[in-house]
């Protein structure tokens, strides 16, 4: 019977791994090993992506627990087979094969079809929101993000305009309605990734790719590069700042003013010299 004990030990061993895996996932959010920030997506589509993620998580968790319970039971059972008994002589079961082909096929097909809507809204033009504000052109380069906005009240043009406003590693967008950016790369491939918005799009040399989302909250969210782009790939640290419409417009005016400031200001129509200002 020593053999049976050894076998049961291994049955427990493999089951324990599965139990631990589930347990780790359950406590993960408490340790911050889960979605970043407050755990919620801060864009409308991002929230739908999270819903899909949790749906798949539930299906996968049930499958995982089921399969491992079966495995544990089978191992336990196999370990306790009396030593004078031969193994079951069976080449399989047609009925079982049919069941475990059709049921997973149905579930998998459901998962696949259920994803279509969100993907269509994210990437397919016909399903984009009706109105969408192109806020900026974002150009990735080794190893920073260059951002070009149209002047206040103007539309974003495909080519730079004299009154465009520029920032580096700092993308400002209004909140509460869909916005879009034109994503480009100056050199190698990069990827525009804002974890807390669940937005990711590669910046491909030679292509201009529109990316849209709608902020649900005001705040500052980290922007990172998600495609290996050279030794400084990890350094492309930037942020997306979501502002109210008014703040966004005000910020843009101020940024324009600072950008076009030529070192000479006027006060009540009079020139103010640099030294007097300080």
């Amino acid at each position: 019977m020593r053999n049976a004990a050894v076998g049961k030990f291994w049955a427990i061993f493999f089951t324990a791994v599965a139990v631990l895996a589930v347990a780790v996932c359950v406590v993960a959010p408490d340790y911050g090993w889960w979605f970043p920030g407050d755990g919620r997506a801060h864009s409308t589509l991002g929230q739908k992506i999270d819903d899909l993620f949790y749906l798949i998580l539930v299906i996968v968790a049930v499958t995982f627990i089921g399969v491992n319970a079966a495995l544990g039971y089978i191992l336990w059972h196999g370990a306790s087979l009396p030593s004078d008994k031969k193994a079951l002589f069976s080449h399989g079961s047609h009925a079982l094969e049919v069941i475990w082909t059709i049921v997973p096929a149905g579930i998998l097909l459901f998962i696949a079809l259920y994803q279509m809507d969100v993907w269509a809204q994210y990437r397919i033009k016909n399903f984009y929101p009706k109105t969408m504000e192109p806020v900026a052109e974002v150009t990735a380069r080794q190893f920073e993000w260059r951002i070009r906005y149209p002047a206040r009240g103007k539309k974003l043009m495909p080519t730079p305009q004299p009154d465009d406003v520029y920032t580096v590693n700092d993308l400002r967008v209004p909140t509460g309605h869909p916005v879009s950016i034109s994503l480009r790369s100056d050199d190698v491939q990069h990827s525009f990734f804002v974890p807390e918005l669940r937005v990711k799009q590669d910046a491909v040399p030679g292509l201009v790719i529109p990316v849209w989302w709608e902020m649900t909250d005001i705040g500052s969210f980290e922007l990172v590069c998600a495609e290996l782009c050279g030794w400084g790939h990890y350094k492309m640290k930037a942020r997306v700042v979501a502002m109210s419409d008014e703040d966004f417009e005000a910020w843009k005016s101020q940024a324009a003013q600072e950008q076009f400031y030529d070192g000479v200001s006027t006060k009540d129509g009079e020139l103010v010299s640099q030294s007097e200002q300080e």
């Binding site: 291994w10 791994v17 895996a21 993960a28 090993w33 889960w34 970043p36 920030g37 589509l45 991002g46 992506i49 899909l52 993620f53 299906i59 996968v60 499958t63 399969v67 491992n68 495995l71 089978i74 191992l75 196999g78 087979l81 193994a87 079951l88 002589f89 069976s90 080449h91 399989g92 079961s93 082909t101 997973p104 998998l108 097909l109 998962i111 696949a112 994803q115 993907w119 269509a120 397919i124 050199d187 190698v188 491939q189 990827s191 807390e196 937005v199 990711k200 590669d202 491909v204 040399p205 030679g206 990172v224 998600a226 495609e227 290996l228 050279g230 030794w231 400084g232 790939h233 990890y234």
Partner: protein, 612 residues
């Protein structure tokens, strides 16, 4: 030809050693080992050459991985021992370009010099002729060359380390990073050598693939019909087909980047790109083309890195639970389905690449559906275990680990196959978790089992069970502690290939978890020395065993251990499938070798007694 079904009159003939072609003296147990440094054309020697080379490369790849892990746990700190040796000039510290090199070379070594050649090269070579009852491969010279082409490949990879700190554009080598010399320190000469090495590995694989297909089609022993082939052979066959159809695309793509780099063509380079103040590119090309070509090979390649292990695990598992494989034909068909579907899913690596979004939909459906044959196989393995007389030895433990880890890897695949979810987790550590669960968790544990299982056939001695179990437990625990948390990192948005993620506030708190993972990885790395020790010492001191120590059915177990030149004492004849364990026909034992003839009346009587 080979597929004749023998008539019953031939029954029993094979027992009669007197009229085989002579008695060979049983070969010396180390005969294969002594032949290692020769240009032998014997498939067993070539298999062993591949096995030992790849086991050593496994250690190289592991060392590179520890470099990566060190940096992720203790960024910019002196790395003891390995770092002191390799990066003495930097005071043992890993520079950012070195980090990207480590990531690149770890993957390249593991994929091209370990996993692919250990499955097809080592076990494919060793097992195919033995299991189908042939005296050697169809093209022994080609076979010999396929091994020796590995060395120029290894030399090219090794040389690449000496230019600009080594290639650093990832194992995926996306242009323009890989196409423009100025794009990174490693994009110069190093990248050329990397590409050359890749091409040579491809040449080696292709020679193997042609050989395996021909051998399996033409050289099966009488009675070895297709559906009497062990699943190992099926998996090797399907893998060879995958190689033959997918590999030319990668080779062509490799030549195209090489041409872009050296001849001024612009297959992948658009116009007007300025990298590092170099002159603007002339252009006209499209970087996405590379991704299509690369993944058209590399997705089928991930199955090249898995199917043979699936086959071998099936064989080992049936033997170790003394029970036929559950659903032999569904096992074959699902491998074929995986291979077929495997050709139309490559786009799932490109969901965020900017390719036509309509493609995202089709690739999503095909990718999710590829989980179906994977699920069917898993259920059939469980069915095989069910009701068996389980022998919990090292072989069995590794086989169970294969199934249990494959379940995790397969299930995480579903998250990534769902396009909207993949938008978020693409290029995060979730992906890294996924492919380590399938490639290490499944394939490598399968390989550990296979080494232990077929070692007796190679050397006429057993590997040590206790060491085998210790190695298994340490590796299994180390593996899970290293890689399971990567799923969580991925959900936390932790990007891949970052030399220092912790200067991003949202990742700061993940450092302690990474330190834990690195400790586990070091444990796992050390445990591999147990495997090496067990492997090499058992050749000399392992317990001697006869032809068939496991009581297995396959033809290979009818040969001497190790088999001499020409393998079989007499050309074998095959009378049944390979999984007739515990059959009522077995009489006093619980296995029925494929060569053992059972008279018709007896079979009929038993068949009538057991319902189908």
């Amino acid at each position: 030809m080979s597929t004749l079904t023998p008539s019953i009159e031939h029954g029993g003939e094979h027992d009669d050693h007197a009229h085989g072609h002579g008695h060979h003296a049983e070969p010396h147990s180390l005969s294969l080992l002594w032949a290692l440094p020769t240009f032998s054309k014997d498939h067993k020697v070539i298999g062993l050459q591949f096995l030992i080379t790849t086991l050593l490369m496994l250690m190289v790849g592991g060392a590179l991985a520890l470099g990566v892990r060190w940096q992720l746990a203790f960024p910019w700190q002196r790395m003891p021992i390995l770092g002191d040796m390799a990066f003495a000039a930097e005071g043992g510290q890993i520079a950012p370009e070195t980090y990207t090199m480590l990531v690149t070379m770890h993957a390249s070594v593991m994929i091209f010099l370990v996993i692919i050649p250990i499955l097809a090269g080592a076990f494919g070579n060793f097992l195919i002729p033995l299991q189908i009852g042939a005296d050697d491969m169809a093209f022994p010279t080609l076979n010999m060359l396929s091994y020796w082409f590995m060395w120029p490949a290894i030399a090219c990879f090794a040389t690449s380390f000496f230019f600009g700190g080594g290639p650093a554009s990832g194992w995926t080598s996306y242009p323009l990073l890989s196409a423009l010399w100025e794009a990174a320190p490693g994009s110069g000469m190093a990248q050329n050598f990397w590409l050359l090495g890749l091409t040579l590995v491809g040449v080696s694989s292709m020679m193997g693939s042609v050989n395996y297909m021909t051998t399996i089609i033409n050289m099966r022993a009488p009675g070895m019909t297709l559906f009497r082939m062990p699943l190992t052979i099926w998996s090797m066959f399907i893998t060879a087909i995958l190689q033959a159809f997918a590999l030319p695309v990668l080779t062509a793509a490799g030549f195209m980047v090489m041409a872009d780099r050296t001849l001024g063509t612009c297959f992948f380079i658009p116009s007007g790109i300025v990298v590092n103040n170099a002159a603007p590119t002339v252009g006209g090309g499209q970087p996405l083309l590379w991704q299509h070509l690369f993944w058209f090979y590399s997705h089928p390649a991930v199955y090249i890195m898995l199917l043979p292990a699936m086959g071998m695990v099936s064989d080992m598992m049936a033997c170790m639970c003394r029970k036929p494989i559950f659903g032999y034909k569904p096992m074959v068909y699902s491998m074929a389905a995986i291979a077929g579907l495997g050709f139309i899913v490559w786009g799932h690596h490109m969901f965020t690449s900017g390719m036509n979004p309509a493609l995202g939909m089709t690739f999503m459906v095909s990718t999710i559906m590829i989980a179906l044959p994977s699920a069917i196989k898993t259920f059939n393995w469980l069915g095989t275990l069910w009701g068996g007389r389980l022998q919990f030895n090292t072989v069995m433990l590794n086989s169970i680990a294969f199934v249990s880890m494959f379940v995790i890897g397969g299930l995480s695949g579903i998250f990534m196959a769902a396009v909207p979810v993949d938008i978020y987790i693409h290029d995060t550590y979730f992906i890294v978790a996924h492919f380590h669960y399938v490639l290490f968790g499944a394939t490598l544990f399968g390989v550990f089992g296979a080494v232990q299982f077929w070692f007796p056939k190679m050397f006429g001695r057993m590997m040590n069970e206790t060491l085998g179990k210790i190695h298994f437990v340490l590796t299994f625990i180390g593996f899970n502690c290293t890689f399971f948390p990567m799923h969580l990192l991925g959900v936390a948005g932790f990007p891949r290939r970052y030399a220092d993620p912790y200067h991003f506030p949202y990742l700061e708190h993940l450092l302690p978890l990474n330190q834990f993972m690195t400790c586990a990885a070091i444990l796992m790395g050390i445990a591999q020395f147990i495997l090496l020790f067990n492997f090499f010492s058992s050749m000399f001191i392992g317990k001697k065993c006869g032809r068939n120590p496991w009581g297995a059915n396959g033809l290979e177990w009818q040969t001497p251990s190790p088999p001499g030149h020409g393998n079989f004492d007499v050309p074998p004849v095959c009378y049944h499938g390979p999984y007739e364990y515990s059959s009522p026909l077995c009489h006093d034992k619980d296995f029925l070798p494929q060569t053992e003839y059972v008279p018709l009346e007896q079979r009929v009587a038993i068949a009538n007694a057991t319902p189908h």
